[in-house]
Amino acid sequence: MTSPAPEIPSLLYADIEEDLRATLRGLLADRCAWQDVLARVDTGEPYDEALWKAVAEDLGLAGLLVPEAFGGAGATAREAAVALEELGRSVAPIPFLASAILATTALTACGASDARDAALGRLAAGTAVGTLAVPATMWPTADFPLSVTGAPGDGGLLLTGAVTSVLAADRADLLVVPAVVDGAPQLALVDGTAPGLTRTRTTTLDATRPVGTLTLDGVPAVVIADAGTAPAALRAALTAGAALLASEQLGVAERALEEAIGYLRTRHQFGRPIGSYQALRHRAADLWSDIAASRATARYAAAALADGSPDTPVAAALAQSYCADVAVHAAEDCVQLHGGIGFTWEHPAHLYVKRAMSSALLLGTADRHRAALAELVNLPPA
């Protein structure tokens, strides 16, 4: 048997969270219409820098998870989750997940140091973009990465190696890099302009959230977590990322369903609105039901994270086991329920499919999380 689950915290949205949602939704309605997002795909500039400034600096959301002592908002994962819901709805092309969630939670999980504290301050202000230098597909229980090694040199550490599929690799101003030094896992902080660092951008399935490759050739770095804390700090960041990504997936799913419903109400074939056909009505109803369940699950993950609940690993794995698939399903159905127009470049449905499907690979597939969950709740494999 497993230990009993803790009491379920509030899965509703507090007033302050609804206020945050309203503000951010208003901004995104003005500055991040799907036409804007789509137009950017054909430019060489995947990141909407003006939007990032508005979200990160003007609204101060880059610092949601940064303690107030470092200039952050000192908010909880519950608020960060609501921000991600809204950013997911808009498929916003900004490095929020990489910087405000993954890099930030990795840094807060490290012990205090001058380098770490300064980095948190820069991330909180929104003036610097951070990232966690791991393949974006890495899951919380994966082995510590071995692809970067460190050696002493020039009064500090020099890193050598490569990391593929790093979120915002080409954009990040500071990078939290897992490295192995003398056989010991460590986390090191690297400046985006450091000598010996080469960054390339990959052409990605989801053009609104690029990844890229980092090549490190004797790159100077500062150690921010030693062997005693680095693995746990990395796992904490990946767990937070997985738990909160569920809220972004919820937002994508909700938006995809809304688009589909709008079309079902207005599109006529055979002399009737197509939304009056039972086959389509039932599909839409099933999606709505799955999204309602997805909301409860994503809220639970955010609340567990916010409360520092011992159930957080279960909540995060559960959320990724469920919400990732619901988002993909909703986005795929959004295409199908639109028929031909849904398969065109000029319609936003493909933006939701690409974001949902890429997100399903991010931070561990649903299957990886089910395997982790099986271990956590004592359902051993065959």
Partner: protein
């Protein structure tokens, strides 16, 4: 008693407990005293077992009574009456109905059942064919009802019958409180796929119901039945279900206890069942929290669809894990289900078969999807040909 406060409620409970010690008073008698004190359902009017207070204050009553040593009233003493009969009597009954019916309904001395569904009218309830014809001060009723829980125990029934076949289907219906002891009422057990008989068929042959037992006006039966059905799934408060409650519990236990049944494919399904059960638990808890916060949402229909699917999938998985035990069946005897009796301790085959009814009873999953499409998503309605025709001209 307008604007009843929690303090006044507490005072009343104390007075009740002082006058009738809950530890020594006969339980049924105590329920009667509780009714007389207006503490049965505080949101009901005075004289009807209530105080005209806010529904939220009921929680205060339950808490204070528990503190005074009263055993919690068992809702299964009269589930249909308490859940659906009482609100209908309170809203649509006459003063005489309320005075005669509510107190014994509350105490469980008079059990209720619901005579709505018919062999020819399941999802399409408004198409029902049981006829009530006016003769003097009586209505003479003929027809057949089905899927009636507790009819074999019931003294009263909520009866929906057709009083005017020349009107469109929803307009020709009238609602009655039927005394089940009247001549011409015949109750037969309805055996279902599990072998047991949880439900009944009720045959009505020349049953003479006095017009005084009509609820609301002639032709208003559909509106009255909506009051009844709206109360069918009003969630009761209480705590969240435990993790690994329901059919995932025996499935997980089997998986842990019997390594020899484990295969990779079954592992995927066991973990999948665990995920679905836990997600549904969280979704149900969120619905409960919304209700408690006074913001009920439309998620109840979705939760009922999910409940049925999870029960069906997980009990099937249970049978597959059970191997040879899955071939066995514990008992095909036609057992009636009595009040207060949940049929616990049965084998997996029983639960597998019983779950087939979950997506049919209380609104099929297909009807519920339609409800979500109409009321939540506000999708265009399906075209209908039956709503404006006189009932007697509708093909059937």
């Amino acid at each position: 008693m307008a604007d009843v406060t929690a303090e006044q409620i507490r005072d009343r409970v104390r007075e009740l407990a002082a006058a009738h010690d809950p530890a020594t008073t006969d339980p049924v008698a105590f329920l009667g005293h509780r009714f007389d004190a207006g503490l049965a359902w505080v949101h009901f009017p005075e004289g009807c077992g209530g105080l005209g207070a806010s529904r939220a204050l009921q929680e205060v009553v339950e808490r204070e009574l528990a503190a005074a040593g009263a055993v919690p009233a068992n809702p299964f003493r009269n589930p249909i009456g308490l859940g659906m009969g009482a609100p209908t009597v309170a809203v649509h009954g006459t003063d005489e109905h309320r005075a005669r019916l509510l107190r014994p309904l509350w105490t469980g001395e008079e059990v209720w059942c619901q005579l709505f569904s018919e062999p020819g009218a399941g999802s399409d309830l408004a198409g029902l064919a049981t006829r009530a014809v006016r003769e003097g001060d009586d209505w003479v009723v003929n027809g057949q009802k089905v899927w009636t829980s507790f009819a074999h125990k019931a003294r009263w029934a909520m009866l929906l019958a057709r009083t005017d076949p020349d009107l469109p289907k929803h307009q020709g219906l009238t609602y009655f409180f039927l005394d089940m002891t009247l001549p011409g009422v015949e109750v037969r057990p309805l055996r279902q796929a599990t072998g047991q008989a949880e439900f009944n068929e009720v045959f009505l042959t020349d049953v003479r119901i006095p017009d005084s037992m009509r609820a609301d006006e002639v032709g208003k039966g559909w509106a009255v039945s909506n009051t009844t059905l709206m109360n069918e799934r009003v969630a009761i408060g209480g705590a969240a279900a435990p993790r690994e409650g329901g059919p995932v519990k025996p499935v997980a236990a089997l998986w842990r206890d019997r390594p020899e049944v484990r295969t990779p494919g079954l592992h995927d399904r066991v973990v999948g069942a665990w995920v679905e059960a836990e997600v549904a638990r969280l979704a149900n808890e969120r619905i409960r929290q919304q209700l408690a916060a006074g913001r009920p949402g439309p998620e109840g229909s979705a939760a009922k669809i999910a409940f049925a699917k999870i029960n069906q999938d997980t009990t099937r998985l249970w049978l597959e894990l059970a191997g040879e035990d899955g071939l066995a069946y514990d008992d095909w005897t036609m057992r009636r289900v009595d009040l207060g009796g949940s049929d616990g301790g049965r084998g997996p085959g029983y639960y597998y078969l019983r779950a087939k009814g979950n997506s049919i009873e209380g609104g099929t999953s297909e009807i519920l999807r339609g409800v979500i499409a109409d009321r939540v998503l506000e999708l265009p309605r399906e075209p209908r040909t039956d709503t404006k025709l006189p009932w007697k001209e509708i093909p059937r």
